[in-house]
């Protein structure tokens, strides 16, 4: 968020033999690119947006309306918000969470809601969701996160797809600054699967683990969120979407619940990426919207537990799902409403205890082969024996030859 981070490294790089003019240019550009501490936007992008719009629309007397153009951009954004706010109705969800005995208490939810409002006001987001809370190890406070679909700008390379489809913001305490989490890399997901660490609550804390994790706690947090989201988020499956009776939702076969987030492949990506062109064996995950019934069993128990929120008044009960694979991941479904929430320490359940992987075998100094294998020198007795054996063999061969000759003569 700070200005220092978003400045390109050019001015601090005197090795590039830039002319003073070019250096001035770089400085000016980096200044324009400095992100605002309030909104995260920068002037460079804003200007380029305005100019693009002018060139696209080609209005007459541009100079007269140029000021308005700039304002128009802002107004439009504000206008959209009034029509349809990206802020979720968290209190309504909280009501259902409370029925289901999951989530957070009401006061905390209000605080999260206010924090989300703050986030929405300062960032151009299209849709925001409250993701959950990760309980942490140290004195720093807890971590609620929303999740949002990015505004419809040109997608950057690998972002907006697969595991990076959504952008996550975290904060330690509702009301503190929201920090945007960086996109997750496949290496981080693969590595996060092998380690098990508590979160400290400090985003810049190193993750000290074996095998080494590529990144700090920010990246580990992002990787765990991606893993949990892939396993947890589901959707009520109905073509007409009329809502499903609660009894059917709590049906133990779980066929009315489907995953709506793509499965993460063992490679650490959602879509298969071919490392070598001539390797035709892609890893395939279950397709999107797979029924939960097809999830793998976890140590002989179903991956999800379906319950009704009330056994006393089943007419108005809501359906609740508890994940057994990721303890702390819950979902509710009631008529057309459904939501997921995660409150836990961010670790996958396993019946067996965690064992860190063994260190790799020691590397060989040379490839072993006949040229470098040391053989023991033969002793004089062995040499003598060998010589005798060779002599015998030679004699035997001579005899054989003689015998053969004799045979031929006989014929």
């Amino acid at each position: 968020m700070s200005a220092a981070e978003s400045q390109p490294e050019a001015p601090s790089n005197p090795d590039l033999n830039l002319t003073p003019k070019e250096q001035e240019f770089m400085k000016a550009k980096s200044y324009l690119l400095t992100a605002s501490t309030n909104t995260g936007l920068n002037l460079y992008d804003h200007l380029s947006l305005v100019l693009t719009r002018v060139l696209d629309e080609r209005p007459e007397n541009v100079v007269d309306i140029f000021e308005d153009k700039g304002e128009g951009e802002e107004e439009e954004a504000a206008g959209d918000e009034e029509v349809e706010t990206p802020l979720p109705n968290l209190m309504e969800l909280c009501f259902y969470f409370e029925q289901a005995s999951i989530g957070l208490n009401r006061e905390e939810m209000i605080r999260v809601w206010l924090a989300l409002k703050n986030l929405v006001d300062n960032h151009p987001l299209q849709h925001v969701r409250f993701w959950g809370k990760l309980l942490e190890e140290q004195e720093e406070d807890d971590t609620p996160k929303p999740e949002f679909k990015p505004p419809p700008v040109t997608p950057k390379e690998d972002n907006r797809t697969g595991a990076n489809k959504k952008v996550y913001f975290v904060c330690n305490d509702p009301g503190k600054v929201w920090v945007k989490l960086p996109p997750v890399t496949p290496a981080q997901i693969v590595s996060a699967r092998k380690i098990k660490k508590f979160f400290t609550g400090r985003l810049d804390a190193p993750v000290v683990a074996y095998p080494p994790f590529p990144g700090n706690e920010t990246n580990y947090l992002r990787a765990q969120i991606a893993r949990i989201s892939a396993a947890r988020d589901h959707f009520v499956n109905n073509l007409d979407f009329e809502g499903i009776p609660v009894r059917d939702l709590t049906d133990p076969t779980l066929s009315n619940w489907v995953h709506h987030v793509q499965h993460i492949l063992p490679q650490g990506r959602c879509s298969w990426w071919n490392p070598e062109p001539d390797e035709p064996e892609p890893e395939v995950g279950p397709p999107l919207l797979t029924p939960l019934a097809e999830d793998e069993e976890v140590n002989n128990m179903p991956p999800w537990t379906a319950q009704m929120s009330s056994n006393l008044i089943p007419q108005y009960a809501i359906a609740v799902m508890h994940s057994n694979l990721w303890p702390g991941a819950h979902a509710f479904g009631f008529e057309k409403k459904f939501e997921n929430v995660y409150v836990g320490s961010g670790h996958k359940y396993s019946m067996e205890n965690y064992t860190p992987p063994a260190p790799p075998p020691i590397m060989e100094e040379f490839p072993s082969g006949p040229e470098i294998t040391e053989a023991e020198d033969p002793s004089p007795e062995e040499e003598a024996a060998l010589r005798a054996a060779q002599q015998e063999a030679a004699e035997a061969a001579e005899e054989m030859e003689d015998a053969e000759e004799e045979d031929e003569e006989d014929d």
Binding site: E108, L135, N300, V343
Partner: protein
């Protein structure tokens, strides 16, 4: 957590994901009072919830005048009908350590554990399989007792030991100050002391016999198995155990208000050394 004022106190731990639905709260408010009257308890505590795969167990405890001895544990699946849990014997606890995995939610479920034993000596040795069955009710009782011994904590000074050996709540306890409540040495394990008895006389010289009759959290192994956090400014201190994930203790500094609750799987976090 004291059953009196449960509906208010449960909010203190709500930020840790401990939520009771209004239906359960209403059920507990009624049924715990009945439980107390029927058994003539001095106090009833809501102990927490152990989540099973199919169903959950809600646990309550009743005590008479002495808080240490004579504690009786009840369990329920709907927070209305309570059943007495048999106290865990040493043999039961030894056996239930063999049961692995989550609770199922059915108290009569039997876990099976098979061990391979060698019978005979030398070449005549044959392998024999021995199957031990563990009833879930026994396991539940053992796990509850284990959690109590490992992590149940109270603020220092909240309970006193009388000259007759009884442990009763301290009427003159006024809560820890904010700075005191940030230190682990001001919280005590609510169990018969283990570490304290091994200390030398010199180390015990400055202790107050009436108050310091329990182990403090500072000597817990491994170090850092507690997550201490302040909430609402400094208006609430929350301690979460990382050894028994789901155990949450709260205390409002400057008041008598404190308590703890366990909402978890009933499985000990044996991976703790790797995770710190």
């Amino acid at each position: 957590m004291d059953a009196v004022g449960l509906h208010l106190n449960i909010d203190y731990v709500g930020s840790s994901g401990v939520i009771l639905s209004p239906e359960l709260k209403a059920g507990l408010q009624t049924s715990l009072v009945i439980l107390q009257n029927e058994n003539k308890f001095d106090r009833v505590y809501f102990w927490g919830k152990i989540m099973g795969v199919k169903d959950d167990y809600y646990i309550a405890q009743g005590v008479y005048r002495d808080e240490f001895g004579g504690r009786r544990t009840f369990y329920s699946k709907d927070c209305i009908r309570w059943g007495l849990l048999p106290p865990a014997t040493a043999a039961m606890r030894e056996k239930s350590k063999l049961a692995k995995g989550r609770f199922t939610g059915d108290p009569s479920y039997e876990y099976e554990h098979t061990t391979v034993k060698k019978v005979g000596e030398g070449e005549e040795a044959t392998e024999e399989e021995e199957t031990i069955t563990i009833k879930e009710e026994d396991r539940l009782s053992s796990v509850i007792q284990e959690i109590e011994e490992d992590v149940r904590i109270v603020p220092r000074g909240a309970f006193i030991k009388t000259p007759t050996g009884e442990v009763i709540s301290n009427r003159s306890f006024d809560g820890l100050t904010v700075s005191e409540s940030a230190k682990l040495c001001n919280y005590m394990h609510f169990r018969e002391p283990v570490v304290l008895t091994q200390k030398s006389l010199l180390q015990r010289a400055n202790l107050d016999k009436a108050i310091d009759f329990m182990d403090s959290l500072e000597e817990d192994i491994p170090r850092g198995s507690w997550a201490l956090q302040f909430e609402r400014g400094s208006g609430l201190v929350v301690l979460r155990s990382l050894l028994w994930q789901g155990y949450v203790f709260y205390h409002v500094p400057g008041t008598r208000c404190s308590g703890s609750v366990y909402f978890g799987n009933g499985e000990k976090n044996l991976d703790l050394p790797f995770m710190l």
